[in-house]
Amino acid sequence: MWTSMLLTLATYSYVLYKDTAAFRFAEHSFMATTFAVAVVVAYQTLVSNAFLPIAKGDFSYIIPIVLGLLLYTLPFKRVRWVSRYPLAIIVGVGTGIAIRGAVHAQMVGQVLAAITLPKTPTPMDWFNFFFSLIAFLTSTSYFVFTKEHKGLFKIPTQIGRYMLMLALGSYFGNTILFRMAMLSGRVEELLKVFGIIPWR
């Protein structure tokens, strides 16, 4: 507990005071520990998911190991072309798997939700329905680049731009809330470690 608290204070010394040796130490310690844990876990995963099955006679696992090793040709200019094959397999498989449910959940489902009338029609529900429908149509129209945003198309695209700004601003606001929650967690632990508030 004391180690984590001292490292927390060292990290916060950057914003609360200035760039200090303590901050650099905490920063490098964090990076080193994170990478070390990742390497250990990756090795354990390789052993349990690949080497052990091979040792038991399932030689099909040699293929992904070889493909993984081929990725390490990326830093070397002469043989870099070899890494394109495993990368192509990764991208291809990932895209194919992702698209399977994406069409229904992320396209059809979202369009249906946007045009479905509210089930409990309170005034607030109607306002939400029309606001989201207008936001959906106008922000989508903003991304139509085959037609110039003039004449009849000018006002919807302008409204769409404001809707996008609202959405991005809301997302940025959530990011700030997340950082505040992180800080409050650290403050709470600081107070507990120093015995100012009790542990629960």
């Binding site: 914003v15 844990v37 995963t45 349990s48 992702a98 997302y171 809330l177 800080l183 409050s184």
Partner: protein, 266 residues
């Protein structure tokens, strides 16, 4: 105002956050529908049901997700629901240890292997989630502690997504999307999220694909209120509410300062 050292602001926020811990304000917490839905779902579950705890968030997000995780796990244990845990983050062992310490019934009331299991870390992102939806035993050969999956009686009931009655993804990124695409759309399994504040981007999927979402510390505080056992979420909400108020005031002051600076230049 532009000449004020930013360290004054940082110290101000730091000190403002301390006050609610020393003197709790007791601000009221209203329960949102997105949280109540999860509570109602778990209330219908019992010893014959299996819930999946999928950990897709690191220790760095504990401040936000820990209250929700602990409150939901307490509810699951109270209802005697079986629990399967696996995850995709390298530091998830610490998270599981934290949950076990916070919910001691997992070791005192529950029997490992029969009532709950921890299958360990799995690499692979969406491809791993997709494969797990089809065949869990093809992916996991043993649990975290090396026990072969054939010797875990609970895992003999879990072969694919169709054997799981509720997915709870503890999420700081996009794993909820993977579960929606492959578990909910593909297999019809109900999916709920315990997420950080930024996970509101997944609200459009509620309720069609996402049956419930507990957002940040507030979600945890709401769930603690529902299960009748207040904890870290409730305590932390006072501090977070105050910090949000400070941020709003600072944003207003900063914009006023900007407008006044522009007028002076004119």
């Amino acid at each position: 105002m532009a000449e004020v050292d930013r360290r004054v602001l940082y110290w101000g926020i730091f000190l403002v956050l301390v006050v609610p811990y020393l003197q709790p304000l007791g601000l009221p917490i209203t329960v949102q529908e997105t949280t109540k839905t999860l509570y109602d779902k778990i209330e219908t579950m019992g010893p014959k049901n299996i819930a999946l705890f999928s950990i897709a968030g690191g220790v760095s997000a504990w401040a936000e997700i820990q209250p929700s995780m602990v409150a939901v796990m307490r509810h699951l244990v109270r209802r005697e629901v079986k629990v399967v845990i696996w995850g995709f983050f390298t530091d998830q062992d610490l998270t599981v240890d934290m949950v076990v310490v916070s919910v001691p019934e997992l070791t005192t009331k529950y029997k490992y292997g029969e009532d709950w299991v921890y299958m360990g870390y799995l690499a692979g992102g969406e491809t791993a989630v997709a494969q797990l939806a089809s065949d869990v035993h093809a992916v996991f050969k043993a649990d975290k502690y090396g026990t072969p999956i054939e010797k875990l009686s609970l895992m003999q009931r879990v072969k694919s997504a169709k054997d799981i009655d509720l997915v709870l993804t503890i999420d700081t990124g996009s794993y909820i999307g993977y579960y929606i695409r492959h578990w909910n759309v593909g297999k019809g399994t109900p999916v709920a999220e315990i997420g950080i504040a930024m996970q509101t981007e997944w609200l459009p999927y509620y309720p069609a694909n996402l049956m419930a979402i507990l957002i940040g510390v507030r979600g945890g505080a709401e769930y603690e209120k529902l299960i009748g056992r207040l904890g870290d979420g409730t305590v932390r909400m006072d501090a977070i509410s105050v910090s949000h108020l400070v941020v709003i005031i600072v944003i207003i002051l900063a914009n006023l300062g900007y407008v006044m600076t522009r007028r002076e230049k004119k």
